[in-house]
């Protein structure tokens, strides 16, 4: 499993996003400056003249208050501040709420090839949206081998070596009304601090390979409700060959995670053996996941009850084998 995440993105990439509603005001020749941090800096201190607070290769944001403050300065100090800001190595500066920054800033931005942008969004939403866009850009994407399927709304990634029966299990789940996202090749992208989303390769979308049948098209065979284009990964299930010597989790007290692009995703190892109906187990795993998301952990609850019972010495009342 190889991935090559881009370590940086460029200011031009921000312009491509329609939801950020960004337009360029000045410093066009600096638009290919790089961005290496997903966190946004509010340029409040910089607006007050303390430009050493400005970090290299980061997006700077000017809110309404900062812009107001700059306008209140006398022309000479305003020009000084604008020149100082534009001489920094920041990636770019975005003015929020569609407010036009002072003219001096535009002039200095052009001189120093410093990208000066404007967005109609409010400061808070701009920061949040830019942050999540940058986070997904900087984390990159990755190809995983497995099957991604939506079971009761829980995105389950089935992994395991070829021939273990991932596709067959997925087919079984589709017949039970669940939805296929991708077979074999799952492209994952990070979409926020704790979310990874998976999708199929464009070309292969909704196709599956079933040994003995060949390549089949799930959407044509089972209809539009049997597939979906993308799904957040909420559970990783590793299918392994049942090994007598291996110990498997019998309680589920501990929660394991599998890291995908730096995001920990709940992880289960599922031993496969004849007589084990994997799709039924996966349905139950999905229901259990939903409960856990709501804060209910069956193993922990039982453990608590047993602890209480033992502490109260009340195990004795459990009826013994009938004595007649």
């Amino acid at each position: 499993m190889k991935s090559k995440p881009p370590v940086m993105t460029r200011v031009t990439d921000l312009l491509k996003s329609e939801e950020l509603q960004i337009e360029v005001l000045a410093g066009t020749s600096g638009l290919n400056r790089q961005i290496t941090h997903s966190r946004i800096q509010k340029a409040g201190l910089a607006a007050a003249g303390f430009v050493s607070s400005v970090e290299k290769d980061r997006v700077q944001v000017l809110g309404a208050t900062e812009l107001e403050y700059m306008k209140s300065l006398d022309p000479e100090s305003r020009q000084g501040v604008c020149r100082a800001i534009c001489s920094t190595k920041a990636a770019c500066l975005i003015a929020c709420r569609g407010i036009d920054p002072p003219d001096e800033l535009k002039v200095e931005a052009d001189k120093s090839k410093f990208p000066l942008l404007k967005s109609r969004l409010q400061t808070g939403s701009l920061i949040e949206m830019t942050n999540s866009l940058l986070m997904s850009r900087l984390a990159g994407s990755k190809i995983l081998h497995g099957v991604l399927i939506d079971v009761f709304g829980v995105g389950i990634l089935l992994m395991g070596r070829s021939g273990i029966g991932k596709s067959e299990t997925a087919l079984d789940l589709i017949l039970r009304g669940h939805r296929l996202v991708a077979d074999d090749v799952v492209e994952v992208v990070r979409t926020g601090a704790s979310a990874v989303v998976g999708m199929g390769a464009e070309l292969l979308r909704h196709h599956m390979e079933i040994r003995g049948l060949g390549i089949i098209n799930i959407k044509d065979l089972f209809g539009v409700s049997s597939v979906r284009d993308r799904k957040r990964l909420e559970l990783v299930v590793d299918m392994v060959v049942w090994d007598e010597k291996q110990e498997y989790d019998r309680l589920g007290l501990e929660e394991h995670t599998y890291s995908i692009l730096g995001v920990p995703v709940p992880y289960l190892v599922l031993p496969v053996a004849p007589g084990r109906n994997i799709s039924v187990i996966l349905e139950v795993a999905a229901r259990d996941r939903l409960l856990k998301i709501k804060g209910v952990n069956a193993a922990k609850e039982l453990q608590k009850k047993i602890h209480e019972a033992i502490a109260a010495g009340s195990m004795a009342h459990i009826p013994a084998e009938s004595e007649e």
Partner: protein, 98 residues
Amino acid sequence: MDFGDKKAEKIVLVVNEKGLHLKPAQNIVNVASKFQSHILLGRDGQMVDAKSTLGLLALGAPKGTRLRIEAFGEDAAEAINALAGLFERAFGETGEES
């Protein structure tokens, strides 16, 4: 997954006219499946399981593409040789075949 610490790799070239389409993909899977090793094939950032037809098709590799084969396992070297041979023989396809 543990496949032992033996590893082999090789760069191959897609030489047949129609690129890595369905039949070559099937060919590769059939050969790769004879080996115990875990085998990956592809390019940087897009390495797919050589035992999966769909994965290979997802590469969408036209004639002239350079691909890397990596194998992990006891029979890694043999697997690489067998697969590289397929590429060299253009999967048995001639240029004029339609």
